[in-house]
Amino acid sequence: MNLRIEYFALLKDQRGISNETLATDATTARELYAQLSEQYAFSLAPSSLKVAINEDFADWDQTLNEGDTVVFIPPVAGG
C-alpha cells in the first residue's frame, strides 16, 4: 500500500527529508519502522518512540490502511 510518512527532529536528520510517499508491504507501524530503520540506520529504538497515524497517537500494531499518514515521534522535549 501507499503511505505518507512525515519525519521530525532526529529522524528527519537521519532520513534526510521531511516527508515522503512510499509503497510498502508493511501492515503495521511496527513493521514499517523496522523496514525504514534498517534502510536508513535510524538510531532510535521503537521503545523510545511514539507513533501517530492520521494525526493522532496510535498503537504500533494498529493495521495501516491505504493512504494513511504515519509519523514516528522521537522523544519529546517541549517546555
Binding site: F8, A9, F57, P74, G78
Partner: protein, 142 residues
Amino acid sequence: MSFSISETSIDPQTLRADRFHDASGAYVSFEGWVRNHNEGQSVEALEYSAYQSLAEKEGRRIVAEAIERFDIESAACVHRVGTLAIADIAVWVGVSAPHRAAAFDACRYIIDETKTRVPIWKREHYGSGKTEWANCHNEASP
C-alpha cells in the same frame, strides 16, 4: 485556541488579558525561559520544532483536562517554535480561577503534561558549536 504553537514572540500581557473573568479571583502564570546551561554545557540557543497539528490537538486536550479536573475559569498555553535566544520565552501558561489553589494546581498540571506529551522537540546549540536533540542522546547532527 486554548493551546497554540507560535512562530513569533510570546506576549504575556495580551495572553494574560484573555484570562480575565468576573468570577476569577486568582491568576497564575508560568513562563519557560531559555537558560544559558544544560547538563553542564553552556547553551547559546534553543531551536524548537513541532508536529503542529498533533501538538495543538494534544495540547488542547491537556488544557481541557485541566478545566475538567480543577475548579478554574480559563486556561491557555502557547509554545514557541523557531530559534530562540537566551532569556526568550519558550512557553507560556496562564490560568484564572475563583481561588488560588486550583489556579496553581492547574498551571502546574498544564506545563507538566505539555512537557511529557506534546510532540515538540528541542535542538540545543552549545557554546562549543555542537548541537544535540534534547532527550535523544545521539550523535549531534551536522
